[in-house]
C-alpha cells in the first residue's frame, strides 16, 4: 500500500513538473508549483519524514508561493514566447540525467534496513538519543543537539536572506495616514479571518513547545506565526499590519534570534563545555540538554518569524508603493 501511494504521488509529481515546463501563464506556473510542494510534502509524510513534510508544506507551499505571487503582481503574468530555441539545455539535462541514472545503478535498494546509510551513524541517534538527550522526537534531538551547529548555520542563512531582501527592497515605513487597503469588499472573509488568526497564533505556540515530543519546532512555529500575520496583512492591508508589528521591530527581532542561539553556545563555553554543549547548562546533563534545546528553538523561532514576516513586508511594501503613486 505504501509503495502504491508512493507511486501514485510520484506520478502526479512528474505530470505536474512536465506541465510546468510548457506553461506560459506564470500565474498557473506558480499555482502548479504550490501543488508540487504539497505533493512532495505528502511524499515526505509517506516516507516517514513528518518534520520535513511539516516544513515543506509551510515553506514551499506557503511562504514561497506567497512571495512568488507578490513578485508576479509586480512583474506581470505572462511569459513572453521566445523564438530562440536552443538544444544546449536539453543536451546538458540529458547528460546530467544519464549520469544520475548511472549513479543509481549501484545504489543500495530503496527501503532496505541493511543499507549503509542505516548502519553506521544513524543507529546511535535512534537507540541512544532518547536517553542521551531525553526527547522522544529524534529529529529534534539530532537537529538541535548532535548537529546543532548546522542549525545555527541555518538560522544565519535565514538572517542573511532577510538582510539581502532589506538591502534590495527596503522595508515599508510605518505610515499613519495610509488608507486602509486589503480585501475590502469581502466581508465574510474579514470576519472569518478575525476568528482564525488567534487560533493560528495559538497553534504556532503549540508547535514551538511541542516540537520536542511531536513533529514541529522553532522553524515551523516561526513560519506558522508569520503566516498568521501575513494572513492579517492580506485581508486587512499592509498599513494595518505594520501598525500591529513594526518593520523596525522585526529587524531587531531577527537579529535577536541569532544572538540567542549563538549566545547559548557562548554561555556553554563560559560554563566549561564545548561550544553548544548543553550538558553544562544545568546540573543534570538531561535537564541541560532540555533547557538548551528549548532556548535555541526559541532563538530559531524568533529569527524565522521575524525574517519571514519582514521579507513579506518588503515585497508587499513594493506593491503598496506602486499602488499609491
Amino acid at each position: 500500500m505504501a509503495v502504491f501511494i508512493d507511486l501514485m504521488l510520484l506520478g502526479m509529481l512528474a505530470i505536474t513538473a512536465l506541465r510546468v515546463i510548457f506553461l506560459k501563464d506564470l500565474f498557473a506556473v506558480v499555482m502548479l508549483f504550490g501543488i508540487y510542494s504539497f505533493l512532495s510534502a505528502l511524499i515526505f509524510v509517506n516516507l516517514d519524514a513528518v518534520d520535513v513534510a511539516f516544513t515543506e508544506a509551510a515553506v514551499g507551499a506557503g511562504i514561497s508561493t506567497v512571495l512568488m505571487l507578490g513578485t508576479l503582481a509586480l512583474t506581470g503574468r505572462k511569459e513572453k514566447t521566445n523564438n530562440h530555441k536552443s538544444w544546449l539545455p536539453l543536451l546538458v539535462v540529458v547528460a546530467t540525467g544519464a549520469a544520475l541514472i548511472y549513479g543509481t545503478l549501484d545504489m543500495p535498494p530503496f527501503g532496505d534496513p541493511n543499507n549503509p546509510a542505516q548502519q553506521h551513524v544513524a543507529p546511535r541517534y535512534i537507540q541512544d538519543s532518547p536517553q542521551e538527550v531525553g526527547l522522544p522526537n529524534m529529529v529534534t534531538s539530532v537537529l538541535a543537539s548532535y548537529r546543532g551547529f548546522d542549525t545555527l548555520g541555518e538560522t544565519a542563512v535565514v538572517f542573511a536572506a532577510a538582510i539581502g531582501v532589506f538591502s534590495l527592497l527596503g522595508l515599508p515605513k510605518r505610515d499613519r495616514a495610509a488608507i486602509e487597503s486589503g480585501l475590502k469588499s469581502h466581508l465574510v472573509l474579514r470576519v472569518v479571518a478575525k476568528l482564525i488568526i488567534p487560533l493560528i497564533l495559538l497553534f504556532a505556540l503549540y508547535v514551538q513547545f511541542h516540537g520536542d515530543y511531536g513533529p514541529g519546532g522553532g522553524f515551523q512555529a516561526g513560519v506558522i506565526a508569520a503566516a498568521a500575520i501575513i494572513l492579517y496583512a492580506l485581508v486587512f492591508g499592509l498599513p494595518l499590519a505594520t501598525h500591529v508589528l513594526q518593520p523596525s521591530l522585526l529587524k531587531v527581532l531577527a537579529a535577536l534570534g541569532v544572538l540567542i542561539y549563538a549566545g547559548t553556545g557562548v554561555v556553554s563555553l563560559f560554563l566549561g563545555g564545548n561550544f553548544l554543549d548543553y550538558n553544562v547548562l544545568a546540573s543534570d546533563p538531561i535537564a541541560g540538554q532540555h533547557l538548551g534545546i528549548i532556548i535555541i528553538e526559541l532563538g530559531v523561532g524568533i529569527t524565522v518569524f521575524a525574517a519571514m514576516l519582514a521579507i513579506f513586508y518588503a515585497f508587499a511594501g513594493q506593491a503598496e508603493r506602486k499602488n499609491i503613486p
Binding site: 480585501l183 469588499s185 469581502h186 465574510v188 472569518v192 482564525i196
Partner: protein, 108 residues
C-alpha cells in the same frame, strides 16, 4: 463494534461524496456550477470523513485535533469558495445562461 460500523458508514459516504464532487468539477458546464459542486461536496465529505475518523479514536487529544481540523475546514473552505466565486463574478466571468444571452444579442 457499533462505533466501528458507524465509522465505516461515514467513511464510505464521505468517499462517495468526494468522488461525486470531483466528477461535478469535470462534468458541470460553467464555472459557477462547478464551484457549487465542488464546495458543497467538499464540506459534506470533509464532515463525514472526519466524523468517521473521530469514531475510531479513543476521544482524546487526537479527536480534539480532528475536531479542530473540521472546524477549520468548515470555516475556511466555504469562505474561500465564496470569495473565489465573488471575485470571478467581479472579474467579469459570466454564467452559461448569460453567455448564451450575450451570444443571442450579438446574433440579433
Amino acid at each position: 463494534m457499533i462505533l466501528e460500523t458507524l465509522s465505516i458508514i461515514f467513511l464510505v459516504l464521505g468517499a462517495f461524496f468526494s468522488i461525486t464532487g470531483a466528477i461535478g468539477l469535470f462534468r458541470f458546464p460553467d464555472f459557477f456550477t462547478r464551484v457549487h459542486a465542488a464546495s458543497i461536496t467538499d464540506s459534506i465529505a470533509t464532515l463525514l470523513i472526519i466524523i468517521g475518523l473521530i469514531l475510531r479514536t479513543d476521544f482524546g487529544l487526537i479527536a480534539v485535533k480532528l475536531l479542530f481540523i473540521l472546524i477549520f475546514l468548515l470555516l475556511t473552505s466555504p469562505t474561500a469558495s465564496h470569495a473565489l466565486a465573488k471575485s470571478a463574478r467581479h472579474g467579469g466571468l459570466l454564467t452559461m445562461a448569460e453567455t448564451r444571452d450575450d451570444k443571442n444579442k450579438e446574433a440579433h
